[in-house]
Symmetry: C2
Subunit: 168 residues, 2 copies
């Protein structure tokens, strides 16, 4: 029996060409979502900073932030280059000032940098995401990583796009 | 040959009595020194607080402190009672304020609570020590743990003498 509608089957060479054409675009437009960094509160604490009113980043990052690193990211801080699977968390909380103390208030966002050179090639090999408040699913960045995150991180190429540094 | 100066040998009952009298005093005066908490910077980060001028503890604890817990202490925070070997670190640094940010400055003291119920029975089962600046050997507390530390921690008996609490 002959095959029906042979004319509707594309030529194999066309398929290869189409795949080559679509593949980079698809990767750039839709990198897989950055996973929530489960257990980061018990990772190593890299540093803490408070950003006060008047700072140029206050609107975005005002409050207290703690930086946490998973073991692969710890190796990266020491080596200067971060290996695949390195994850750095930017844990941003309100600053709560009372009785001559300042402590952590409510969580604003859990920012994440997740190293995967191939998956996130368009943004320096890092996936960027922000999880709102205490949610593990509500995403603040999504497909806007290039504009919302990478734009500021790009000048730190010599530090593998990372701002923080480890200090014993 | 008869013993010379038999009258100078104390009666055995006196020796037992003296030992019983001295022993608790000796223990109270000289508990073994609290070891330096090697590697604490990579332990879990429990919390951060800044103590400002005007706070009643500012003279002693002004600046930024981070609390770190070893894995046994982490189990203690979750259980409400801390097991033998639990170590909690109070890492006190100057607050460095510049360009609308506040960050860690120079290290002032590394305070330590080290759980050993028998060794530190006189101070709630916790040994207390402070290591000055970045030194692992210069001790700020030494034999003064009861007055310098335990006096303030004693009212926290219901929390196993610990002030901080874990929060995810």
């Amino acid at each position: 029996m002959s095959r029906p509608f042979p004319s509707r089957r594309p030529h194999p060479a066309f398929c290869v060409g189409l795949a080559a054409f679509l593949s980079p675009l698809a990767l750039a437009a839709d990198p897989p979502p950055v996973p929530y960094p489960e257990g980061y509160r018990q990772w190593a604490h890299v540093k803490t900073m408070r950003i006060l009113p008047g700072h140029p980043l206050h609107a975005s990052f005002g409050g207290i932030h703690h930086i946490y690193a998973n073991p692969k990211a710890m190796a990266g801080y020491k080596a200067g280059r971060f290996p695949e699977g390195a994850v750095i968390v930017f844990d941003l909380l309100d600053a709560s000032e009372a009785d001559a103390t300042v402590t952590d208030g409510a969580r604003k966002v859990v920012g994440v940098m997740h190293k995967n050179a191939k998956r996130y090639a368009a943004t320096g090999g890092w996936g960027f995401e922000g999880f709102k408040g205490n949610s593990k699913t509500e995403r603040a960045v999504g497909k806007d990583a290039a504009g919302a995150c990478y734009g500021c991180h790009e000048p730190r190429k010599a530090q593998d796009y990372v701002f923080s540094a480890w200090k014993d």
